[in-house]
C-alpha cells in the first residue's frame, strides 16, 4: 500500500513536472518550429513561385508544382504548433496575435484555405504560366488574409 502511494506520488510529481516543462521549453520550441515552417518552407517556395510569375526565373512546370506542393504540406503541421501561452509578448519572437485563440476554428479554416489554394496552384502549373500565375496570386491572397487577422508583425 505504502509502495503504491509512493508510486502514485511520483507519478503525480512527474506529471506536474511535465506540465512545468511544457510551459518553458516546449512553448519556445513550438514558436521556433512554426517560424521555421513559415520562414524556411512556405516563404522560399512562394518566392520561387513568384520569381516564375515575374519571369525572373524561367517557368518550369515540375519545379513550380513541387514548390506549391511543399507549401501545401505545411498547414496541417502548422496549426498544431499553437499551444496556449505562445502569443506575441508571451514568448520571444512570437508574432502570433491573441486573436488566434479567440477563434481557433477560423484560424484552422484559414490554414485549410492555404492548403487548398497551394494544391490548386500545384495543379495549375501543368496548364502553363498564365494559369499558374492566376492560381498563385490567389494563393498569396490567403497569406495576406491570415497575416492581417492573426499575425502581429515585429519591427522591420
Amino acid at each position: 500500500m505504502q509502495k503504491l502511494m509512493m508510486v502514485a506520488c511520483t507519478l503525480v510529481g512527474l506529471a506536474a513536472y511535465a506540465t512545468v516543462a511544457i510551459s518553458a521549453e516546449d512553448l519556445v520550441a513550438a514558436v521556433k518550429e512554426r517560424r521555421h515552417l513559415m520562414k524556411e518552407v512556405v516563404a522560399p517556395n512562394a518566392k520561387l513561385g513568384g520569381q516564375m510569375v515575374k519571369g525572373t526565373v524561367a517557368f518550369d512546370t515540375t519545379k513550380a508544382a513541387a514548390a506549391m506542393n511543399e507549401i501545401s504540406g505545411v498547414p496541417d503541421k502548422y496549426v498544431k504548433l499553437f499551444p496556449k501561452g505562445t502569443e506575441h509578448g508571451a514568448v520571444k519572437d512570437s508574432e502570433a496575435k491573441a486573436t488566434i485563440w479567440d477563434d481557433f476554428d477560423k484560424f484552422k479554416a484559414t490554414a485549410q484555405k492555404l492548403k487548398d489554394a497551394s494544391a490548386k496552384a500545384a495543379g495549375a502549373a501543368a496548364q502553363g504560366q498564365g494559369t499558374f500565375t492566376a492560381a498563385f496570386n490567389d494563393m498569396t491572397k490567403v497569406c495576406k488574409e491570415c497575416h492581417e487577422t492573426f499575425r502581429e508583425k515585429l519591427e522591420q
Binding site: 512562394a46 497569406c143 495576406k144 508583425k153 519591427e155
Partner: protein
C-alpha cells in the same frame, strides 16, 4: 517703469498683428477654378489612389482598427494618435449637417489644396493635404463630384483631443506658410511621361511621403530624408526606407515594386501588412500602367541611408518589450542575423 510697460504692450500688439497677418487663411479664388465637366470615373479613381476611405470610412470595431466598414460611407470616427494628441477623423459624407454636403466645389478645393475649411478655418495636417495640394483642379473637381454620389451619414465623430497650443487652429497658419502653397505638381519636361505620371501619383494623391518620411518636431517632413523611412507613429518599429539604397529597396527590380503594389507580396514573400496593406489594396485597383509608373518613380528616387537607424529602433523596442509584462528575455537563443530581409 511705465515706459517699459508701454514698450511691452507695443511689442505684444505688434506680435498679435504679425500673427494675425501671417495666419490669415490663404485660399484659392473662385476665378482660378477651370470650367471642367466632372468625370465621375476619374473621381472614383482619385478616391482610390488617395486612400480617403482609409481614414474617413468608419473603422471596423475599435476606432484604431486598421480595417474599415463600408468604404463608400465616409462617416468618420477613426482615431489617429500623433505626438500632438488624438485626431478624430470627421464625417465627409454628403450629409448637409454632419458631413460636407453643403460645401461647394471651391470649398472642397480649398480644403485639399490649402488646408482651409469654409469660414477660413485652418485644418490640421493630420489630413495629408500637404500631398493632396499637388493634385490638379480637374482631378479634385472629379473627386468632389464622386464624393457627392456616395451615401450620406448622420454620424458625428467626437472632437479632436489636443493640448495647448495645438488646439488653436489659427496657429496652423504659420505652419501652412512653410508647407502649403497649393501649387500643382509640375511635370519635369526632361523626364518621360511615365516618370511624371508616377511622380504625380506618389507626391499627390498617393501621399506616400507622409508615412515613409521622417519629420521635424513640429511635424514638417525633413526634405533631405524624404522616403528614407520613419518611426511608426501608430506603434513600434519603423516605416521602411523605400529609396533605392542598400538600406532601402535598392535590390528590388521595377517589377518587384509593381508586383508588391499589385499583390502585396515582397520579393522575399513576406506579405505586406500594417497601414501599407490598405494602401496596397488601393494600388491593386489602379491600372497596371499606373503601378508601373509609381514603381519607376520610386526606383528613380535619390538613394538615401535609413533616416531611423534600425539598430536604434530595435534597442528602443527591446526596452519596451522588457518592460511589458510577460516579456521573456531568458529564451534569447534564436537571435536572427540582422540581414533586414524578410521580417
Amino acid at each position: 517703469m511705465r515706459r517699459a510697460l508701454l514698450a511691452l504692450l507695443v511689442v505684444a500688439v505688434a506680435g498679435a498683428v504679425v500673427f494675425y497677418v501671417l495666419t490669415i487663411p490663404r485660399t484659392v479664388p473662385a476665378s482660378e477654378l477651370p470650367a471642367h465637366k466632372p468625370d465621375l470615373a476619374n473621381g472614383e479613381y482619385m478616391f482610390t489612389a488617395g486612400g480617403c476611405a482609409e481614414c474617413h470610412a468608419t473603422p471596423e470595431k475599435k476606432c484604431n482598427d486598421p480595417k474599415t466598414q463600408d468604404k463608400h460611407v465616409l462617416s468618420g470616427g477613426r482615431c489617429l494618435k500623433t505626438p500632438f494628441g488624438v485626431f478624430n477623423v470627421p464625417n465627409i459624407s454628403p450629409d448637409k449637417e454632419a458631413g460636407i454636403g453643403n460645401w461647394s466645389t471651391l470649398d472642397f478645393v480649398n480644403a485639399l489644396k490649402r488646408g482651409i475649411a469654409p469660414g477660413g478655418e485652418h485644418l490640421y495636417p493630420a489630413f495629408p493635404y500637404t500631398s493632396y495640394q499637388r493634385m490638379t483642379y480637374a482631378d479634385l473637381i472629379d473627386l468632389k463630384a464622386y464624393l457627392d454620389t456616395l451615401p450620406a451619414s448622420k454620424n458625428v465623430p467626437p472632437p479632436h483631443e489636443l493640448g495647448f497650443p495645438f488646439n488653436i487652429r489659427r496657429g496652423l497658419g504659420l505652419w501652412q506658410l512653410l508647407y502649403v502653397d497649393g501649387k500643382d505638381f509640375v511635370p519635369d519636361p526632361k523626364q518621360s511621361a511615365e516618370l511624371n505620371r508616377g511622380a504625380y501619383l506618389v507626391m499627390g494623391p498617393g501621399h506616400c511621403a507622409e508615412c515613409h518620411s521622417s519629420r521635424y518636431l513640429w511635424g514638417g517632413i525633413i526634405k533631405s530624408e524624404e522616403f528614407a523611412g520613419a518611426r511608426n507613429p501608430e506603434g513600434k518599429g519603423t516605416v521602411p526606407n523605400i529609396t533605392p539604397s542598400d538600406d532601402g529597396i535598392g535590390d528590388w527590380s521595377l517589377n518587384d515594386i509593381s508586383y508588391l503594389l499589385e499583390t502585396g507580396n515582397t520579393p522575399d514573400f513576406d506579405v505586406i501588412g500594417e497601414s501599407m496593406a490598405a494602401v496596397q489594396e488601393n494600388m491593386a485597383k489602379l491600372t497596371a500602367a499606373d503601378r508601373d509608373a509609381i514603381a519607376a518613380f520610386i526606383k528613380a528616387l535619390p538613394a538615401r541611408p535609413d533616416a531611423v537607424p534600425k539598430s536604434e529602433q530595435k534597442k528602443k523596442d527591446a526596452k519596451d518589450e522588457d518592460a511589458a509584462p510577460g516579456g521573456d528575455t531568458k529564451t534569447g537563443g534564436s537571435k536572427e542575423p540582422d540581414d533586414g530581409s524578410d521580417y
